[in-house]
Amino acid sequence: MAKPFSILNIMTYLGLAIGLVYACFPVLWMLFSSLKSNTEIFSLPPALFPKEFTLKAYRSIFGSPMKVRFFLNSYLVATVVTLLTLFVAILAGYSFSRHSFKLKKPLNLFIISTQTVPPISLLIPYFGIVVAFRMYDTYFALIFTYMVFTLPYAILLMTGYFNTLPKELDEAVIIDGGSSFTALWRVLVPVSIPGIVATGVYTFLLSWNEFLFALTLTKSTEMRTVPIGIQLLMGQHAYEWNEMMAMSILGSFPILIMYLVAQRYFLEGMTAGSVKN
C-alpha cells in the first residue's frame, strides 16, 4: 500500500526523527557530560561529545565511601521491599484470583483506589508514627512506608497474572488432598515466574526512585538513598556537574538494564495502573 515517496511517508519519517531528538537528546547530553571534565561542561561553543573523554567523575564517586553508601542503601532497601512486596502480593493475588469471599469486591476497590492516594497526605502522620516508634532515620522506616505504595500495584499485577492461568492447575492439588498453601507455592508460583518477574521489576523501580519519604524519614548521610544523594550533591556550593551526571547515570543503571533486558515486563508494570480490573 505504501508508495515509496508519498508526502505522508516523508512526513512520518520527519516526525520520527524529530521525536528521536526530543526523546534522546537530553539523555545523551547527560551521558556525555558525565564523561567530560567539569571545566569543559560549559565551554563554548557547546559540544555533545567531550574533547577529552575522562572517567574522572566516575572514579571520584567510587572513591568516596559516602557516595558508594548511597548506592548500597538504595540496593538494600529496594531489594528488601521487592521481596516482601512479592511475598504479600502473591498471597493476596492468589486469594483474589482463586477464592470468592464476601469482602472481595470492596477490598479490590480499596486497593485500586489506594494507587491514587497522595504520598504527601500520609507523610505527616508517617513522620509522627516513625518518630514515636523510634524508627526515624532507619531502613525500617523506608521499607514499611515504601511497601504501602508498591503493594497495590503488585497485587493488581499478580491477580491479573494468576487469572490467566487455568484453575484446574491448582485445583488438582486440592482434590488430591493437598492444602491450598501447597497448591499455591508448589504449583502456581513456579509457573507464574514471568508474572512474578514483571511485578518484581516494577516494585524495584518504584522503591529505587522514591524521593519524598527518603527525604523526610531519614536524616543522617549514612542512611541516604541515591535520589537524596543527588540532591545533596546539588546543594553543594560549587556544582560538580560532571559528577552529578555520572551519579545520575549510575543511579539509572539498574533500571536501564532491567528495561533493556526485560522490556516486555517493564511495559506491563508501566500500564498496570490503567489496566481494567
Binding site: M1, T12, Y13, G15, L16, G19, L20, A23, C24, P26, V27, W29, M30, I41, L44, P46, V88, A89, L91, A92, F101, L103, L109, I111, I112, T114, Q115, T116, V117, P118, P119, I120, S121, L122, L123, I124, P125, F127, G128, M147, V148, L151, S179, F181, F211, T216, P227, I230, Q231, M234, M245, S248, S252, I255, L260, Q263, T271, G273, K276, N277
Partner: protein, 305 residues
C-alpha cells in the same frame, strides 16, 4: 506463614468454615499493612487538621475547622492551587498530544517495522529516569549558559541568556515543559497497545466508502482509543497534581512562589515552618481533590465492564 500451613491440616475445623476463613488468611498481611499504614494515617492526618499545634505540642487543643479557614485566607495557598491546576492541565493535554503522535507514527504502515521497534525503545527513554535525575538533566540543559540558551541565540530566537528556572516569568512554563517531556511515554505505550487492537477491516471498509485519512482517524481510531485516553488522562491528572520531586529539585517552588504547588506548599508548612496542623489541613485538601478524581476514575472503569 505457619498459621496458613496449619490451617490445611487442622481436622476439627469444618470444611465450610475453612472455605470461609482461608481467603482472609491469605489477605491478612495485606489487610494488616494497608490498615496500619494507609487507613490509620489518613484518620491521623484528618484528626491533626482539626487540632492546634500538633506534634510540636503534647496537648494540642481542638479547634474545629479553624486550620482550614486560615488556609483559605492565605494568598499563597491560592497561588499554589492555581499553579498546580495550570501545571496539571497543561501536562495532561501535552502528554496526550505527544503520546498520541508518537503512537500513531509507531503504528504507521509507512515505516519499516524493525525501525519502529528500535525507535519505540528510545521513545520510552524519558520514563526510565526518575524525577530527581530528570530535574538535574534539565537544570544543566536550561542553565543560563547552557546548551539550549546557546542554540536559541544561535538561531536568533532569543537575544540574551534566559534564566528559565529562576525568572518568575518563565519558571512555571519551564517546569511544565520538563514535566511534559518526562510523562508522555505512558500515553504512548498505552495508546500503541490500543491501536494494535483496531481491526484493519474497519479501515479497509472506510477506504472503500471513500473516507480520507483524517476521516478514518476521527471516526475509527479516536472512538476506539477513547476509553484508554479517558482512563490514562484521569490517572495522570491525579498523579501530576501530586508532583513533588521535580519541583523540589528544580525551583523549590520559587522564585517567590512562582512555581509553588500544593505539595511543596504543604511540605514547607510542615518541615520548614513546623506548622504541622496547617500542613495537615493542606494535606487533607490534596487528599480530597485526589479522591474526588479517583471516584470518577473508578466509576468510569466500572461502566466499562
Amino acid at each position: 506463614m505457619l498459621f496458613l500451613k496449619k490451617n490445611g491440616f487442622i481436622p476439627f475445623i469444618s470444611y465450610k468454615t475453612k472455605r470461609v476463613i482461608t481467603p482472609y488468611l491469605y489477605m491478612a498481611p495485606t489487610i494488616t499493612l494497608l490498615a496500619l499504614l494507609m487507613l490509620f494515617p489518613m484518620i491521623v492526618v484528618f484528626r491533626y487538621s482539626l487540632y492546634d499545634n500538633v506534634i510540636m505540642n503534647r496537648n494540642p487543643a481542638f479547634v474545629g475547622l479553624q486550620n482550614y479557614e486560615t488556609l483559605f485566607a492565605d494568598e499563597i495557598f491560592w497561588i499554589s492551587m492555581g499553579n498546580t491546576l495550570y501545571f496539571t492541565l497543561m501536562s495532561v493535554i501535552f502528554h496526550l498530544l505527544i503520546g498520541l503522535a508518537f503512537a500513531l507514527m509507531l503504528n504507521s504502515k509507512e515505516v519499516n517495522s524493525t525501525i519502529k521497534s528500535i525507535l519505540r525503545v528510545f521513545y520510552i527513554m524519558p520514563w526510565v529516569f526518575t524525577a530527581v535525575i530528570i530535574a538535574i538533566i534539565w537544570r544543566l540543559l536550561l542553565d543560563p549558559s547552557g546548551v539550549i540558551n546557546y542554540l536559541l541565540q544561535a538561531f536568533s530566537i532569543t537575544g540574551s541568556n534566559i534564566e528559565w528556572f529562576s525568572s518568575s516569568a518563565t519558571a512555571i512554563h519551564a517546569l511544565t515543559f520538563v514535566n511534559i517531556w518526562a510523562g508522555y511515554p505512558l500515553y504512548m505505550v498505552s495508546l500503541l497497545a490500543g491501536l494494535k487492537g483496531v481491526s484493519t477491516v474497519l479501515y479497509e471498509a472506510a477506504s472503500i466508502d471513500g473516507a480520507n485519512e483524517f476521516q478514518k482517524f476521527w471516526h475509527i481510531t479516536i472512538p476506539h482509543l477513547k476509553p484508554i485516553i479517558i482512563s490514562i488522562a484521569l490517572l495522570d491528572f491525579i498523579w501530576t497534581m501530586q508532583v513533588f520531586p521535580l519541583v523540589w529539585m528544580t525551583t523549590g517552588g520559587g522564585p517567590i512562589h512562582a512555581t509553588e504547588m500544593l505539595s511543596t506548599y504543604t511540605y514547607k508548612l510542615a518541615f520548614s515552618r513546623y506548622k504541622f496542623s496547617l500542613a495537615s489541613a493542606s494535606a487533607m485538601i490534596i487528599l480530597i481533590l485526589s479522591m474526588s478524581v479517583t471516584y470518577f476514575y473508578i466509576k468510569y472503569q466500572k461502566s466499562r465492564d
